[in-house]
Symmetry: C2
Amino acid sequence: MKKLGRSTVVFENPPSIKEFFAIVGEKEGQGPLKDCFDSIVNDPYVAEKSFEAAEAKLQKLAVSGVLEKASLKQEEIDIIFAGDLLNQCIGSTFGISSFQIPFVGLYGACSTMAESLCLASVFAAGGIAAKAIAVTSSHFCSAERQFRLPLEYGGQRPPSAQWTVTGSGAMIVEAQGTAAPFVRGVTFGTIEDYLIKDVNNMGAAMAPAACKTIKAHLDATGASAADFDLIVTGDLGKIGGELLCQLMREEGMDISSCYNDCGMMIFDIEKQDVHSGGSGCGCSATVMCAHILQRIRSGELKRILFAATGALMSPTSTMQGQSIPAICHVAEISNTKV
Amino acid sequence: MKKLGRSTVVFENPPSIKEFFAIVGEKEGQGPLKDCFDSIVNDPYVAEKSFEAAEAKLQKLAVSGVLEKASLKQEEIDIIFAGDLLNQCIGSTFGISSFQIPFVGLYGACSTMAESLCLASVFAAGGIAAKAIAVTSSHFCSAERQFRLPLEYGGQRPPSAQWTVTGSGAMIVEAQGTAAPFVRGVTFGTIEDYLIKDVNNMGAAMAPAACKTIKAHLDATGASAADFDLIVTGDLGKIGGELLCQLMREEGMDISSCYNDCGMMIFDIEKQDVHSGGSGCGCSATVMCAHILQRIRSGELKRILFAATGALMSPTSTMQGQSIPAICHVAEISNTKV
């Protein structure tokens, strides 16, 4: 491992993402990526009694699924990094509790797939985990009633609102893996707060954090936007994505030709009536695990930046009139080791 | 770094805990450790408008305090690991948002001081953080109204209940430090669920996790309880502590002669009417930062195990009839490098 800049790490022997697995709900299973998911569950309860237990079940199924796909037993995994949006992260704790795998609990809101992947990669590259799992989840019904309004209320959503994805994505990061995708480097972000207070406009709140960490990664590694086939955020949505491109231009970097956002990819935002796009930890997790990592493995994509963003407020802080601090972590993923 | 067993890491060049800082509330400032804290705040609002903002302020003051004590600027810190008990960890996100330090958000409930210290130590020993901060907090008033009952209700507490500490503790972990304390090794724990459902008996829910990770650390490193001056948990309280000693005996290890619990140390549990003892992320954080690390620095303690435990339920999971999964992470701290 080599430290570049303040919080960028590049890996001399990059760990591989050995396997990945994505499970989603019905609406996601009707979107543009419907043929890519490993599993689509039409029952929003996933045969559990509550939406929260359903979300935990999705995370459990994602971990079981990725283990099975990789032909590994849970005993072969040294550590698991997980988190989610629910109060006290019960999607992860109850989802993972049936596994006997050392567990590091995270809270990074919708940045969690990148946060967990970055940490798993550091542990693998540092020789202290032969194999690590990174996993996260979200569920429209558990998130909606916790963060916004009771589902039964049917609250109207402004055009800037995003739709929380129901789904979970899990990756196995392997220290000595020889097959692509490889994690070439990571950058951990700082908290940015542009004093935006509209919880129905998360994209705007998170775009500055994405700009900051992407720029930090490019500056530290000496790369430019032109070196990447794809710079993909998760999940700024339509509005936040446009703001990010604008902020990057103001920094003298034009990413618009290689930019996309997981929240724009998982839904047909017009036909599926999701306004500004998808969101939730499960959004970038399932788009990465179902679609993007596969395209890197196949060689269709050579080198990408995965920049997952999180809005770090709570319903309490919002009701108390506070702004929305945001964060972004970045993983550079490639189909070659160098 | 050397991996021993599944999730134990020992450091060939152990990072040092360069500095530590503890800030607490009025009740903690009247307890047995009153002369040890760096700062005691008698205003439960800490000059903020809500208890949640007060908790964030405590974390901000702990980070400012430890930087000042170490004569460091925030620019000299490569990364900060933080988390707390509040929904979406707003004690940490709002506490840290005024610093421009790369941030890794954690959720480990009351295990957070160990979780953050273990990760900071791995990053320092792995050469990817010259200096890292580990910090956490809790606040009686924010925790009580979130997890239990409105403060105004004055709900009666059963004898097994613990009292959430108001306070925050922060440590600076340095890769190339030459002065004690040193972090010699860490073990990340698995989630253990003994199906205990009584949220007023967290000690019982968490004791099995403590037993599991302490045993894993001793097994992996080949050490025995006799090698330590102190094995300290945070925070099992009186009931959980007794259960842990019993569980360890059943594993053939008697830790009772060197065992203590941060929740038993921060309060005079009889005189201060805190029933089974203190709890909350801020309990073990402030006891470590105010008292135990100082005793290691002075040489009074030579080698200790710090085993912080977390109860991973939420009020929602409890109301839905779920049990309390628990976790424990362990850091081995010594006043010598070998």
